[in-house]
């Protein structure tokens, strides 16, 4: 691949330079954006680069040779031009229009041969317009036309493409769509691109290099996005009053607060070019998207792909905090687990935590941006597109497939504008879509058909399969409906998935778990702290039949448990204060005095001690007296301790003495040090991670109960203390349990889904 560059070039008409001192280079696979106010001469530069306008001074060099001296046919094979000048030939199909681009490859009458037909089809496919092949060009939407014109430039098989405001007639979705395609082309075909772009936000998204042309016809700056995108500079360049600024750039307001990471350098690597994308959308919230994504992730992983989940925006109260202290949605954590990878905020760059009926705390890339009203956010979110794209991009660096999850329904026609979660997202990354309906809540055919009906034609074309989820009963009864659905919807049904009960934490099952009030043979109570963290510590108990785990909200509910657990907390001092004020403290003391076991994990361990001091102000400073059940004192440190731990239970006395000697494996995340204040404590967990006295136990280790023998022993001990028998057959450690659940999910989905269809939509060859 060769490069196009200028040398001391002045461009203009009739010997008068409009822009002078042009120094730029178009290199294979790189996108150069020309920006500047109207009339600055961007089109003139492009014409000169294309060789259709002679330079006023200086030269344009292609592969070292002067462009004006090249043979026209050679030049046309090297450079392709796409302009916005729209002359429609009547009755021409898209195939015809694109075929014109084969000028240099056809004979004297321009008849298109077989290889031309192939090139045309390929180009149409590449720009995602193959289904428009035989459509009348003049009847297409602007966005579709632009795609076809791009394909027309592509069939020239150029090394460099020159685009003059290719997005100017498009709506927001169309613009994003278009630049995504452009990026793909640059990457996959190694085509060098020079584009005059009007919308700075698009420039920010696609450009590898930005060339700024000033009003008085100079090349003022050339640099990367990061170098150019300083709002002060851009203001100067455009010489804009703020109002004119907004109208010129439409939805894209380049001013205002921007997170540093919101201006990504687009990485143009061959790696990510092979990343396949698949999106799962639902007809309504809780249609079971999260689990279907998890199941697909697991299936793909089993088939040898490196998979990552993605959901652009989550709305949930309960978030997961990553090792780096960043917040993200729980569903993606679960899906990441199904993929066998570590959760990362890249998988869920936007998290909304509702604060009241019409406002939310907005969290971007794991960190809080601020509180916004719904309407405010609706405007703000348009700026998040680059953040979303860069997250997908980064995920792609380590994955073969990204499975995306939509939110709510894609057919919320009042919210369609600037959508970044459903079809807008699918379009952004050019993902095929599977649409999931929930038969359990009834009306599944209406859900699916109605949703299809409300989609725009191009969105509808993205839907490659329908899924009926949560089906109970005899599938043969459903079959006629499925056939009718396929006929009317024009989209194949990829499968009918039966209703499944799984012990996999996700945002929906979590809320349900908090409300659970059943009683079993053995009852475990978990004090629900307001800053509760790491719920998963106790999931392992739920697999045992006869064991009930209850989250305790009120002090009077503390009685009658066979084991009381104080879980981890994100803010121990605040939670201890709450326990004291709400009367929980005395209830827990009373419970401990009854001789039944109390276990504190991490923050819970700290709370059980005598004092918690915060000299460095980690949790707001000061110090507070603990519940005083363990003679230990905690000092919070700024240094966070974060590590995987393996060890054993050393010398627990009291009711849980049977745990002695058992091995555990878990992890520590805490910011405190806890030491014994007096004699009389013994080591509970090894490695100075836990202490106990009598029936009160404390440990810093999360997941300490997850081991198979630990669960079995603990439950058996509690059962025998109470004099009941619990069936412990088939109880496994937590990790195995979850892995087994993912595999079960995957197996069920494999059985009921037409995987060939899904692989086909995904566009991958199965390596069977």
């Amino acid at each position: 691949m060769r490069e196009l560059r200028t040398d001391a070039l002045d461009a203009g008409y009739d010997g008068v330079a409009l822009v002078s001192g042009i120094e730029l280079a178009a290199r294979p696979g790189k996108i150069v954006a020309l920006v500047g106010p109207n009339g600055a001469g961007k089109s003139t530069i492009l014409r000169t680069l294309a060789g259709t306008l002679a330079p006023v001074k200086g030269v344009v060099l292609f592969d070292g040779a002067e462009l004006t001296k090249m043979k026209l046919s050679e030049r046309a094979k090297a450079l392709a031009v796409m302009t916005t000048r729209r002359a429609d030939a009547e009755y021409a199909t898209c195939y015809d229009v694109v075929g014109v681009g084969r000028y240099q490859f056809t004979g004297i009458f321009g008849r298109l041969g077989e290889s031309d037909a192939r090139a045309i089809d390929d180009a149409l496919r590449l720009v995602g317009a193959f289904e428009l092949r035989d459509a009348d060009f003049s009847r297409l939407s602007d966005g579709q036309k632009q795609r076809v014109l791009l394909a027309r430039a592509l069939v020239q098989e150029p090394e460099i493409m020159l685009l003059d405001e290719p997005t100017s007639y498009l709506d927001v979705g169309g613009k994003l769509d278009f630049v995504a395609t452009l990026k793909k082309l640059a990457r996959e075909r190694g085509i060098g691109v020079v584009a005059a772009l009007h919308e700075l936000e698009l420039v920010r998204t696609v450009a590898d290099e930005v060339v700024c042309v000033t009003k008085d016809g100079r090349i003022d700056r050339t640099g990367t996005v990061a170098e150019i995108f300083q709002s002060e500079y851009l203001k100067k360049l455009f010489d804009a009053r703020s109002d004119a600024f907004d109208t010129t750039y439409g939805f894209m307001t380049p001013s205002g607060p921007q997170r540093a990471n919101a201006s990504p350098r687009v990485c143009v690597g061959n790696r990510s070019s092979r990343v396949k994308r698949l999106m799962v959308q639902g007809t309504m919230s809780s249609a079971g998207k999260s689990l279907i994504v998890a199941g697909l992730c697991r299936i793909l992983r089993q088939d040898g792909f490196r998979v990552a989940p993605f959901k652009s925006q989550n709305m949930a109260l309960n978030s997961f905090v990553t090792e780096d202290g960043l917040e993200m949605g729980r569903a993606q954590v679960m899906q990441a687990e199904a993929c066998g990878i570590k959760p990362s905020v890249l998988m869920n760059p936007i998290l909304l935590k509702p604060t009241d009926d019409c406002g939310s705390q907005v969290i971007v890339n794991g960190a809080v941006v601020g509180n916004m009203r719904a309407r405010e956010y609706f405007e703000y979110k348009t700026r998040l597109t680059p953040t979303i794209l860069s997250a997908v991009e980064k995920l792609g660096e380590t994955s073969d497939v990204i499975v995306l999850e939509g939110a709510g329904s894609p057919a919320e026609i009042n919210l369609k504008r600037n959508d970044i979660v459903n079809m807008g997202m699918a379009r952004l990354v050019d993902a095929p879509v599977l649409l999931v309906g929930d038969i359990d809540r009834g009306g599944v055919f209406a859900q699916l058909l109605g949703t299809l009906e409300l989609l725009e034609p191009d969105e509808r074309a993205r839907v490659k399969g329908l899924i009926v989820n949560k089906f109970r009963g005899d599938k043969t009864i459903l079959d006629p409906g499925v056939a009718e659905l396929e006929k009317r919807g024009g989209v194949p049904v990829a499968g009918v998935i039966p209703y499944m009960t799984l012990t996999l934490a996700d945002e929906d099952s979590l809320t349900e778990r908090f409300e659970r009030r059943g009683r079993g043979l053995v009852n475990i109570g978990v004090v629900q702290l307001s800053h509760l963290s790491n719920f998963t510590d106790f999931d392992v108990f739920e697999q045992v039949k006869g064991v009930a785990v209850t989250y305790v909200k009120r002090p009077e509910e503390t009685r009658g448990f066979d084991l009381l657990i104080l879980p981890g907390s994100k803010n121990t001092i605040a939670d201890v204060r709450r326990l004291r004020e709400s009367g929980f403290e005395s209830a827990i003391r009373a419970y401990a005095e009854s001789g039944a076991p109390v276990i504190g994990v991490c923050g819970g361990f700290q709370a059980l001690g005598e004092t918690i001091a915060d000299p460095d102000g980690v949790e707001g400073g000061g110090s507070i007296a603990g519940l005083g059940l363990l003679p230990v004192a905690t000092t919070l440190r700024t240094q966070k301790r974060r590590r995987q731990t393996t060890g054993s239970f050393v010398a627990p006395d009291g009711p849980l003495a049977s745990l002695a000697g058992l091995e555990f494996s878990g992890y520590e995340i805490h910011m405190g040090e806890t030491v014994a204040t007096r004699a009389g404590t013994s080591e509970f967990t090894s490695g100075a991670t836990g202490l106990c006295r009598g029936n009160v136990y404390g440990t810093y280790v999360h997941g300490v109960f997850d081991g198979e023998s630990v669960v079995k022993t603990l439950i058996a001990t509690l059962a025998s203390r109470k004099g009941v028998a619990v069936d412990l057959d088939g109880v496994v450690d937590y990790r195995t349990l979850r892995e087994r659940e993912y595999d079960r999910l995957a197996a069920t989905m494999r059985e009921h889904l037409n995987m060939a269809l899904i692989y086909d939509a995904l566009g991958v060859e199965r390596h069977d």
Binding site: A50, T83, V100, T106, I108, F109
Partner: protein, 336 residues
């Protein structure tokens, strides 16, 4: 080839043949169709009927068909050149330009007494057509507006007509009658001799412009685009102008300025074939133009027989409504 094209070509060929036969069979001497065909196949020139059919009607028919086709092609090329569907040799004043120079030549020949050969007529018309076209192109450089371009063409036509009138004023009375008949458009005076010049020019000219079809295909999407795919624009434009001038000049030289075929025939072709493909447009326009011209000539002779109307009268009556409907349709259904 698509089904639609095959069917349409078949219909057009049948139509042209039928009209050709009809033309041979009609005129002031009453001949039935069977008599005509008998004379045709026997190739008997000695009889009166044979002489009428072979020496008078056949050249006229062949000229009408070929010139009609040439006119339609010329119109199509101009429409492509100006990216304007109502461009044509008549409205742009190109026919009038040709007429001016031919008239000058006619008057000069009478005054200075030299014999005119049809090739001289063609050359004169070509010179006139080229001058007029050049003028229109110069205007087109200044104005980008289609309507104004057409108005300018009409103006150039008027100027040429006025100049022709001026020249005619200095001509002899007998010449004036000839000139008048000629300038209204008529195929009546065409002989085998004329055909010897006309046929090669039209056939070669029409066939050569097919080589421009590939370029036109790209040119339809704009000059700049055409350049970017590697078309040598000055050369291509020159070829377009020369091609269309040559074709319209030939028509003018032999039959005088004939209106509307140049616009109506390509339009009808585009609608019927539902295509913009230059190859199809050219072939289709040629056939439609030929049929149109044959029909007009036949009507011109038959309508008020034995009085013969000028061909332009008929082409205007049929063609103008077609062009008008096209204008209205474009205005109504204009795409942004």
């Amino acid at each position: 080839m698509k089904r639609r094209e095959v069917v349409l070509y078949a219909i057009l060929v049948a139509l042209v043949s039928t009209l050709a036969l009809l033309n041979l069979a009609s005129g002031s001497a009453k001949l039935t169709l069977s008599e005509t065909s008998r004379v045709l196949f026997s190739h008997d020139v000695s009889s009166v009927e044979g002489a009428i059919v072979w020496n008078i009607r056949t050249p006229r028919m062949v000229a009408a068909a070929l010139l009609g086709g040439a006119l339609a092609l010329s119109g199509y090329l101009l429409q492509a050149f100006f990216v304007n569907p109502i461009a044509g040799p008549y409205v742009l004043g190109i026919s009038s330009g040709a007429k001016l120079v031919v008239a000058t030549l006619l008057v000069a020949s009478c005054r200075y007494g030299f014999a005119l050969h049809s090739s001289m007529m063609v050359s004169a018309a070509f010179v006139g057509a080229t001058i007029a076209t050049t003028l229109v192109i110069l205007v087109a450089r200044k104005v980008r507006n289609m309507a104004i371009l057409i108005v300018c063409g009409v103006m150039i036509g008027y100027v040429c007509s006025a100049a022709t009138e001026l020249i005619v004023a200095f001509a002899d009375d007998s010449n004036i009658v000839n000139l008048h008949n000629w300038s209204l458009g008529s195929f009546s005076a065409i002989s085998w001799d004329d055909l010897r010049c006309l046929v090669p020019v039209v056939v070669v000219g029409s066939c050569s412009v097919f080589f421009l079809s590939k370029g036109i295909r790209a040119y339809l999407y704009g000059e700049e685009y055409a350049q970017s795919v590697g078309i040598n624009l000055p050369v291509f434009r020159l070829l377009l102008v020369v091609g269309s001038s040559l074709l319209s000049a030939t028509v003018t030289a032999f039959a005088g300025p004939i209106s509307f075929i140049g616009i109506a025939a390509p339009h009808v072709t585009r609608r019927a074939f539902r295509t913009s493909e230059p190859g199809t447009m050219m072939a289709g326009s040629f056939l439609v133009g030929a049929a149109f011209c044959l029909l007009s000539d036949w009507l011109a002779r038959r309508l008020f027989a034995p009085k013969e109307l000028s061909v332009s009268t008929i082409t205007a009556i049929i063609g103008a409504p077609i062009v008008l409907s096209m204008l209205l349709e474009r205005k109504g259904g204009r795409r942004a």
